[in-house]
């Protein structure tokens, strides 16, 4: 797929900034409708020669060119991310597909209660929409991503329609831990996933390489999005990669376009009737703050002062059990063999509000096993043999609530074009720490009950900032939020935000599906306000 070339002057209907999960869904929603749509992406297509390296090499590339830590991979498309004052390291990918390139495919919905934490728990703010209002868009998102899953999960309301694809096998570790949960009387359920257990429409099934966080060598989990881009491009959407937005332009309270630097460094203005920001929880506030003017000195769409505030990252813990026998761990889907939401909802007797989502994961390949073990010399073989392929890992994602001291601000460090990077200031909230403590203890019980001979816990994990949310949050009150229920900013008509920065609260599950659903919802509104020229 080749990128389009920029004419000297441009005037389009819709600009989409960012080709990640949100931009992919927005492009799919507005393609083929006779509109002139331009998507601008800072990165490029992920290097297929890297992707096609042997799977063993992915264990090494994940520490370098395919690292989700921008300060490690130092790719030309990246902007600096200073996380020296953050309890967690933000993990990102700039390129077509966005951070989905490093996604293990987890595609759960938020819970109904996640949208009403002020009403139910007296904390933060309610979303201006309900689960039921978002449900039709969840269905669109699941259809786009061809999500695999099993209906009937008692931790969710009954679904209106089934999953597009059947669930993935729970495999050895899932079956073992599920049996323990049945004994304990605890919840478990096969995870809903954008990985697929069977081939369809030219998309092959997951081959269980278990290298998801370092980019799948076969583009599984991202295939549906890739196919979607092919359709969007066929439907007339232009995609231009390798550019850098310098600012979003607005006049008299209405968006009028963007300015960007092309690959050669030439500044190019593009006029647009609508601009959709889909640059992620760091990139979107960065662009709004970079777009400050004398009329909006604190940044565009920032009359509330909340752009860049309230960052949520889903504090994370790892609890790993090792078993006396082979569990085929390295032949298991990286994430979501099974999930557990026994402690997702609030029970105030526990000393905190909200809860956690658990995902049972494999414990990785041999390089990861050896290096994380850290036992060398005469004891190495025994240590390695006792852990390789014998582990089951609960990844514990905790609910995160907005704290306005957790921020994304512009930093003095600049990218290759001289544009500012971001500084992330994030301290794990006390409530989240209590959730972690409680759930780590339960997860240790879970794995011991399953027969693990050794259990190791690591909490909170620092390099776990996959989910960057809440930095341009949604709400009804313009003094307490940045965008309205349609995803349009309160301050600037025609300017939409449809990525995870619009989350009012974080819930405890992977945000990819909700991001996709919000993009479809925003597109629905945008299209109603925008007739083709």
């Amino acid at each position: 797929m080749s990128d389009t070339h920029a004419p000297a002057e441009e005037n389009v209907d819709i600009i989409i900034v960012g080709a990640g999960a949100a931009g992919t869904a927005m492009a799919a929603a507005v393609a083929g409708r006779g509109l002139n749509v331009l998507c601008l992406e800072q990165g490029g297509w992920i290097d297929q020669t890297l992707r096609e390296r042997s799977v063993q090499d992915h264990e090494i590339l994940g520490t370098a060119d395919l690292s989700p830590v921008s300060e490690v991979r130092r790719a030309p498309a990246d902007y600096p991310i200073d996380s020296t004052e953050s309890d967690m390291t933000p993990l990102t990918w700039n390129g077509v597909g966005g951070s989905v390139a490093m996604w293990a495919g987890a595609a759960p919905r938020l819970h109904p209660s996640d949208f009403a934490v002020r009403t139910l728990d007296g904390v933060a703010e309610d979303w201006p929409i309900t689960y039921e209002e978002l449900e039709p868009y969840y269905e669109q998102a699941e259809s786009l991503l061809r999500v695999a899953g099993l209906d009937g999960n008692p931790s969710y309301p009954p679904r209106r329609v089934g999953f597009p694809e059947p669930p993935l096998p729970v495999r050895t570790i899932g079956a073992r831990v599920a049996a323990a949960h049945d004994e304990l009387g605890w919840h478990w359920w096969p995870g809903s996933s954008a990985l697929h257990g069977r081939a369809f429409d030219g998309i092959h099934n997951c081959h269980v390489h278990a290298t998801c966080p370092n980019s799948c060598p076969e583009r599984q989990a991202k295939q549906a999005g890739y196919v979607s881009w092919q359709r969007s491009l066929s439907g007339g959407v232009q995609l231009r990669t390798g550019i850098r937005i310098t600012r979003v332009v607005a006049q008299n309270g209405e968006v009028s376009g963007v300015e960007y630097l092309d690959r050669g460094g030439t500044l190019r203005p593009v006029r647009a009737r609508r601009v959709v920001l889909a640059a992620g929880g760091l990139g979107t506030p960065r662009l709004l703050l970079m777009s400050a003017t004398p009329e909006a000195p604190a940044g565009l769409a920032n009359s509330s002062g909340l752009v860049g505030k309230g960052l949520m990252m889903h504090p994370f813990a790892v609890v790993t059990g090792y078993f006396a026998e082979n569990m085929d761990s390295q032949q298991t889907n990286y994430e979501n063999a099974i999930t557990c939401q026994q402690w997702y909802e609030t029970d105030k007797t526990r000393g905190f509000v909200r809860g956690a989502h658990w995902a049972l994961c494999s414990t990785g390949g041999p390089v990861q096993t050896a290096v994380t073990g850290g036992v060398w010399g005469p004891e190495h073989r025994a240590d390695f043999g006792g852990r390789f392929s014998r582990g089951a890992l609960w990844g514990i994602f905790t609910d995160d609530l907005p704290d306005d001291d957790n921020t994304v601000t512009l930093s003095e460090r600049t990218d290759a074009a001289g544009l500012p990077g971001v500084k992330v200031t994030y301290r794990i909230p006390e409530n989240s720490m209590r959730i972690l403590e409680f759930n780590v203890e339960r997860a240790e019980e879970s794995l011991r009950a399953a027969g693990a001979v050794e259990v190791r816990s690591y909490s909170p994990a620092r390099a776990a900032g996959w989910h960057l949310m809440g930095t341009a949050r949604m709400g009804s009150d313009p003094t307490k939020s940045v965008v309205n229920s349609k995803g349009e900013t309160h301050d600037v008509a025609g300017l939409y935000i449809c990525d995870a920065s619009a989350f009012t609260t974080g819930g405890a599950v992977n945000p990819a599906l909700t991001v996709t659903a919000l993009a479809f919802k925003a597109a629905d509104h945008l299209l109603k306000t925008l007739e083709p020229n």
Partner: protein, 124 residues
């Protein structure tokens, strides 16, 4: 790498990951190529590791720099014969049967979870 660096790399390998009769025997030259492959993927480590391999001081594995430990371990465990002996063979395409029978079996296995009833809190 020159022959001296290959020799030191192999000494390190045997110190960190002692030979085992149940694992393939790796020739020194073969392992040298494995190390070079890792450094091709991690060019950021090349200068540091080359200098460390030239130092020839590996008397204590506690004192071996972390980046050198990583390179040696990665080179060994991504060697195709080691990988094959472990049964990892991540290049293999594994599939699992996925049909109506497996889904029905899974639903049957979940019967006790379903029987315990709803866990979610509905929209207020």
């Amino acid at each position: 790498m020159d022959t001296s660096q290959v020799r030191v790399a192999n000494l390190l390998r045997r110190k960190l990951i002692p030979d085992s009769p149940s694992m393939p025997e790796i020739e020194d030259d073969e392992f040298g190529r494995d190390v070079e492959r890792v450094l091709e993927l991690r060019p950021d480590l090349e200068t540091t590791v080359a200098r460390q391999l030239a130092a020839d001081d590996i008397s204590s594995h506690d004192g071996i720099p972390a980046e050198l430990v990583f390179v040696v371990a990665a080179a060994y465990y991504t060697n195709p014969r080691v990988d094959g002996a472990l049964g990892y063979s991540a290049g293999q395409r594994r599939t699992a049967p996925l049909d109506e029978h497996s889904t029905a079996e899974l639903r049957q296995r979940l019967s006790s979870v379903i029987a315990r009833g709803p866990l979610y809190v509905p929209t207020p």
